[in-house]
Structure formats: structure tokens, C-alpha cells
């Protein structure tokens, strides 16, 4: 190999060499982290919510006139009876919100009435005794709400329920030693609420950045939402009958009472659509970062092609001299490929340090996960291959330079 003379020659072309190496380094650092973030986002947006997503849809039901809480409660009960009677529906439940729906309440939880600092701030879903079955979440300990435990939650009420069901993640957060069942918790009140059940997995309503570490901390309250602001009807269709149920349910509700508002376009959403909407920005960000990565890689490749083409043009005579002195076309091709490889190795070396450095900074600043070395290694190989691919064209042109160039005066 002719590494020593290539390195010697590169020392005389420091500016171009350093620029390309830096370009490779920055591209590696940015692309590695971008791909890592993209991967994390993709994993994040495909994480299961814990509910029977394939069979669920939600109806956001607003009320067209203001009525007393009792009237709303009666209407909600009637609505639920109508929904549950539909042949395509397995079950239906009222809810103050639903996983991934985007809006809803968080309730700070403490373990003692005089505690001022909350232990967790889980998402709260108020609903009736059918909510558990409707959502399709798995009860792993304790029991479901009984019908006689269901209270009412109006828009101005803040009555803490005597019993709650919590997600396993929340239970573990509150009682790390696993003794959550039967324990009292306090939610901005001196009145305790007893944990009577634990469900396996139940995702929050929102998926924003700060909520990520607490994505599965949630709880169920035995309360029918009877607020004048409206409520969600969560409907679980029978297998294979989601589309039919989605068509029939709003009609059934309107048949019961027309004084309600269900947005004809966005009022009834399948859970797949709910998921798509909440992760829209994540998906958009992943696509944007992917595009930026592709553009960066293209710019780097173009930079390598440009510089090598320039060098080939600049060294045409030198290539001719080398050919005159006995270099074969393969030798010339090998020279430029090796030269690029050496620059690339310098670039990826710096790039690896940069990639890890940027990630460590993001770990401390944005609570990001540690960058997997597999990403760096993949990036290193990819960039070296990109460099070799980019240099191949100009290198092949160089290899076709005739040895007679050595005798040309310019």
C-alpha cells in the first residue's frame, strides 16, 4: 500500500483535506444522533397503549344545551344503553378522556395527607364500571369497580373517589416494593382513596416530551363524567365490526337526543386515527430528521465528488507522470480510493467523538437515551462506503488519464 506517500501528499492539501474530513465528521455526528432519535421516535410511536386498539373508537360528545348535572347523567346512562344495544358493539363506557386523546386531567398523588410534594402526577380517566372491559385493559391485581361505587363528576366538582384503579407503572412508582393494592393514596385532599385494582398497562392521554418518562402512569376513577362540556364515549366493537359500529353509534346517539354536538368529521375517530393524530408531530419530526440526514449525506457525497474531481483535474499531469513511471489504471484508482479512505478515517474518528459528545450533551440537557455504539459503528461504515462510492467516479476518470499527459507542457 502507498499510504505513506499519500499522507505526505495530503499534508500539502491541508485545507481541502480538513474541510472534507470535517464534513464527514459533522455528518457522522449529526446523522448518527438523528437516526438514533428517529429510531427512538418510531419505537415510541409504536409502543402499545394497553387498550384493545383494533376494536376501539371514540366519540366526543358535546351538549347543545346547558342542563343540570342530573339531566346529563340521565342522558349519559340512556346513551350508553343505546350504544351497548347496538349489534356491532361489544361494550361502551363514558370517559373524561382516553389514552392518546391528547387532552384530559392529571392528578398529583401523595402518600400522606400532609405531604406537600407529590410522588406522581398520573393521567386520570373517569368512567364507569364498564370502562375497564371497554378499553380492554388487563386487570392484574385486585378488582374492577362495582356499579354502586360509580359517582358523578361535573365540570366544577372535585370530589375524590374513595377507590381507584391504577396502572402497574403507577403502582410501582408509588409503592416500589409491590404492596400497592389496598393502600390509601391522597390526591389534593385529606380524604384517602384506596387502590382496589391494578391494570397491566394504560398509556396517558398525551405523549409530549415531558410525559415520556411517565407515559404509563395512569389511574381510573369510578365517576361518570356529566360535565356540560361534554364527554368521550369509548366504544369497543365486536371483532371485525369496527366500521359498522362507527357508522351506527353516532346515529344511535342522535336518535336518543338530537341536542348534542358530534363533529361529523372529527367527532368519531377510530383508535388508529387517534394514535395517528397524537403521533403526527413525532412522525413529522422523524421524517424531517430523516430528510436532513439524507440531505447531509448527499452534500457530503457531493463535497467528496467535487474535491476529488478538482484534485483529479489539478493533478492530471501528475497522474500522467505516475502512469509514465509504471502505474497501472488500477494503481491510480487505488490511489484515489485510498486517499479518500484515509480522509474518511480521519473524519469518522473525529465524527465518532463528536457523535458521542453531542449525545452526552443531549442526555444531560433533554434526558435523552444514551446513543448506542451500534449506531456509531453503522454510521462509520456507511460514511466510509459513501466516501468510496462518491470518489469512484472521479477516481475512474483519473485512472483513464493517459500516460502521455506526462509529456504535455501544461
Amino acid at each position: 500500500m502507498q499510504i505513506k506517500p499519500i499522507l505526505a501528499a495530503l499534508r500539502h492539501h491541508k485545507a481541502g483535506t480538513i474541510l472534507v474530513a470535517l464534513q464527514i465528521a459533522l455528518t457522522l455526528a449529526i446523522v448518527c444522533n438523528a437516526l438514533f432519535i428517529i429510531r427512538q421516535r418510531l419505537v415510541h410511536l409504536s409502543e402499545p397503549s394497553g387498550v384493545d386498539e383494533a376494536s376501539l373508537f371514540v366519540i366526543y360528545n358535546g351538549w347543545a344545551d346547558q342542563a343540570a348535572t342530573m339531566q346529563f347523567d340521565a342522558q349519559v346512562r340512556t346513551d350508553l344503553a343505546a350504544l351497548r344495544q347496538l349489534p356491532s358493539v361489544r361494550n361502551a363506557a363514558p370517559a373524561s378522556s382516553c389514552p392518546l386523546c391528547g387532552d384530559g386531567d392529571d392528578v398529583p398523588v401523595m402518600l400522606a395527607p400532609d405531604q406537600t410534594q407529590w410522588i406522581a402526577d398520573p393521567a386520570m380517566y373517569a368512567g364507569d364500571e364498564q370502562l375497564l372491559d371497554t378499553l380492554g385493559v388487563k386487570l392484574v391485581a385486585g378488582r374492577n369497580f362495582r356499579a354502586d361505587e360509580i359517582g358523578k363528576m361535573g365540570s366544577r366538582d372535585f370530589t375524590v373517589p374513595p377507590v381507584v384503579i391504577v396502572s402497574r407503572t403507577l403502582a410501582d412508582r408509588l409503592f416500589p416494593r409491590g404492596e400497592a393494592l389496598g393502600k390509601p393514596i391522597y390526591m389534593m385532599s385529606n380524604t384517602p382513596s384506596t387502590i382496589i385494582g391494578i391494570v397491566d398497562r394504560l398509556q396517558r392521554q398525551n405523549v409530549g416530551g415531558w410525559t415520556r418518562p411517565y407515559a404509563y402512569q395512569s389511574m381510573l376513577w369510578p365517576m361518570r363524567p356529566v360535565s356540560s362540556q361534554g364527554l368521550y364515549y369509548i366504544v369497543r366493537a365486536k371483532p371485525g365490526q369496527l366500521a359498522a359500529a362507527m357508522r351506527e353509534a353516532p346515529k344511535a346517539l342522535y336518535a336518543e337526543d338530537r341536542m348534542r354536538i358530534i363533529d361529523p368529521e372529527h367527532g368519531t375517530l377510530s383508535f388508529a386515527e387517534v394514535r395517528r393524530r397524537i403521533y403526527d408531530s413525532d412522525l413529522g419530526m422523524a421524517i424531517l430528521m430523516g430528510l436532513i440526514s439524507v440531505v447531509l449525506l448527499a452534500i457530503t457525497a457531493a463535497g467528496i465528488v467535487g474535491l476529488t474531481s478538482f484534485w483529479v483535474g489539478q493533478r492530471r499531469k501528475q497522474i500522467g507522470v505516475r502512469r509514465a513511471l509504471g502505474a497501472t489504471r488500477r494503481d491510480i484508482l487505488g490511489y484515489f480510493l485510498t486517499e479518500n479512505l484515509l480522509i474518511g478515517l480521519g473524519g469518522v474518528l473525529v465524527g465518532t467523538v463528536l457523535a458521542i459528545g453531542i449525545n452526552l450533551w443531549m442526555v444531560t440537557q433533554f434526558e435523552m437515551a444514551r446513543l448506542s455504539l451500534a449506531y456509531v459503528m453503522t454510521g462509520v461504515v456507511a460514511l466510509l462506503l459513501l466516501g468510496q462510492g462518491a470518489v469512484l467516479g472521479p477516481a475512474l476518470r483519473a485512472s483513464r488519464v493517459s500516460p502521455v499527459e506526462a509529456t504535455r507542457s501544461v
Binding site: 502507498q2 505513506k4 506517500p5 505526505a8 501528499a9 499534508r11 500539502h12 492539501h13 499531469k317 501528475q318 507522470v321 505516475r322 502512469r323 509514465a324 513511471l325 509504471g326 502505474a327 497501472t328 489504471r329 488500477r330 494503481d331 493517459s402 500516460p403 502521455v404 506526462a406 509529456t407 507542457s409
Partner: protein, 238 residues
């Protein structure tokens, strides 16, 4: 050593054919020092590039060290250039990014020679041209004469069978030209075959034999002072 018979080199365009060499005949024996002279555009450089296998020819035969080269592929031609021919160019053609040592090493690396042998040959050839102390210097740090000496060292390091020199003193002042020429004469006395293209009559006079080219053909000056064309193989050795 170098024998061209009825050789021609034609440059063709869509409308015209230009003969750079036509029915060109020359025979250089081993150990000869031949100067090839002629006016500008006569075909001297074309002869040199074909002799050095830097470009192909259109017709005729060319035997180099007993090998008919017309049908050789690019790799074989590169190998012959590397092993049998040493080039000395008017513009020295040293690689500016490499120091003297690395410049001389270039053809030896292409030969796949081991590092120890390369080093030995490089130092020997630098001793030979009197520049052993300049091994780490870059071409830009040397005078024109020194650069040409390095180029000669590079040509000699591979122990070529044939040295081809293209106006080797063309870019040098008189004193430097003289020392380079003396070096070539020394190399010739030691048995090297040298073919030197020049338009300098004084330089040509120092060669063992002169071959004059006009309009792509060899002209025998000794037979006709008006430069008439000779079609037979040039036999005027010495």
C-alpha cells in the same frame, strides 16, 4: 534494443488525417547514446512517447528489448514502462507534494519492491547524481539542475534497459545543462542505452549518433545536406 520498422502514427479527425510519423524507421542498439533532433512539429516528441509506450501507434512494428509491443494491453505496457524504461522529462515532472526520496520511490513502489531494497536503490541513485543529502527536500526547495538530477535518479533507480530523455536540459541554464549532460554521458559510459530528443545541436553533438526527423520521417543528414527522406532502416550507427 529499440527498433521501429515502417511505423506510423496518424491523428484522425472527421475531415482530416494527420501523419505525425510516417514510414518511420529507427534501430537503436544496446549501449548506444542517440540524439533525436529535428525542428518543432517534426515528430520528435511523438517518437519519444511511442518509444516510451506512453501512446500507441497506428501501423508498423516496434520491438523494445526484443518484445513486439503493438499488441500489449495497458497493464503490460505499464509493466514495461516501469521495468525497462527510465524517463527524463524537460519539465523534470517531479511530484511537488513528495520529497526527493518519495519521488524516486514512486516507480519502485509500482514494481512492488520491498522497502529495504527501495531504500537501498534510492540512496544509491541519489549518491550517483550527487544529491544524497537532499533526500528529504521537496522539489520546490531545489534548483532546476538539482530537480533534473533527482529526475535522473528516479529514472536510474529502477535499473532501466533504456533511458528516454525529452529535452533534458531545455529548462536549465548553461552551467546546469552542462552538468546534467555530463551526468548522462557518465551513465552512458557505464553501459546505459540513452535516446535523447533535443533541438539543441550542441547537445546533439555530444551524443554518439544523431537521428534527424523531419515531417515524421528519419532523415540521413550525412547523405544529403538538403535533408532528403530515407525509407530504409537507419543503419548509420556511431
Amino acid at each position: 534494443m529499440l527498433k521501429m520498422t515502417h511505423l506510423s502514427k496518424v491523428y484522425r479527425t472527421e475531415v482530416v488525417e494527420t501523419y505525425a510519423l510516417r514510414d518511420f524507421n529507427i534501430d537503436v542498439k544496446e549501449g548506444e547514446f542517440v540524439a533525436v533532433t529535428g525542428p518543432s512539429g517534426s515528430g520528435k516528441t511523438t517518437f519519444l512517447t511511442i518509444a516510451g509506450l506512453l501512446e500507441t501507434f497506428s501501423g508498423g512494428e516496434y520491438h523494445l528489448d526484443g518484445i513486439e509491443v503493438s499488441n500489449l494491453n495497458d497493464n503490460a505496457r505499464s509493466k514495461i514502462r516501469n521495468e525497462k524504461i527510465g524517463f527524463i522529462f524537460q519539465a523534470f515532472n517531479l511530484i511537488p507534494d513528495l520529497n526527493v526520496f518519495d519521488n524516486i520511490e514512486v516507480p519502485l513502489r509500482y514494481r512492488g519492491m520491498k522497502a529495504a531494497e527501495r531504500k537501498q536503490r534510492i540512496m544509491d541513485s541519489l549518491e550517483r547524481v550527487g544529491l544524497a543529502s537532499r533526500a528529504k527536500h521537496y522539489p520546490a526547495e531545489l534548483s532546476g539542475g538539482q530537480q533534473q538530477r533527482v529526475a535522473i535518479a528516479r529514472a536510474l533507480a529502477g535499473s532501466p534497459r533504456l533511458l528516454l530523455a525529452d529535452e533534458p536540459t531545455g529548462n536549465l541554464d548553461t552551467q546546469m545543462a552542462r552538468s546534467v549532460l555530463e551526468l548522462l554521458e557518465d551513465i552512458h559510459r557505464e553501459g546505459a542505452t540513452i535516446v535523447m530528443v533535443t533541438h539543441d545541436p550542441e547537445l546533439a553533438a555530444r551524443a554518439q549518433r544523431n537521428v534527424h526527423i523531419i515531417d515524421g520521417q528519419v532523415v540521413d543528414l550525412s547523405e544529403d545536406p538538403r535533408f532528403h527522406t530515407v525509407h530504409a532502416v537507419d543503419e548509420a550507427h556511431g
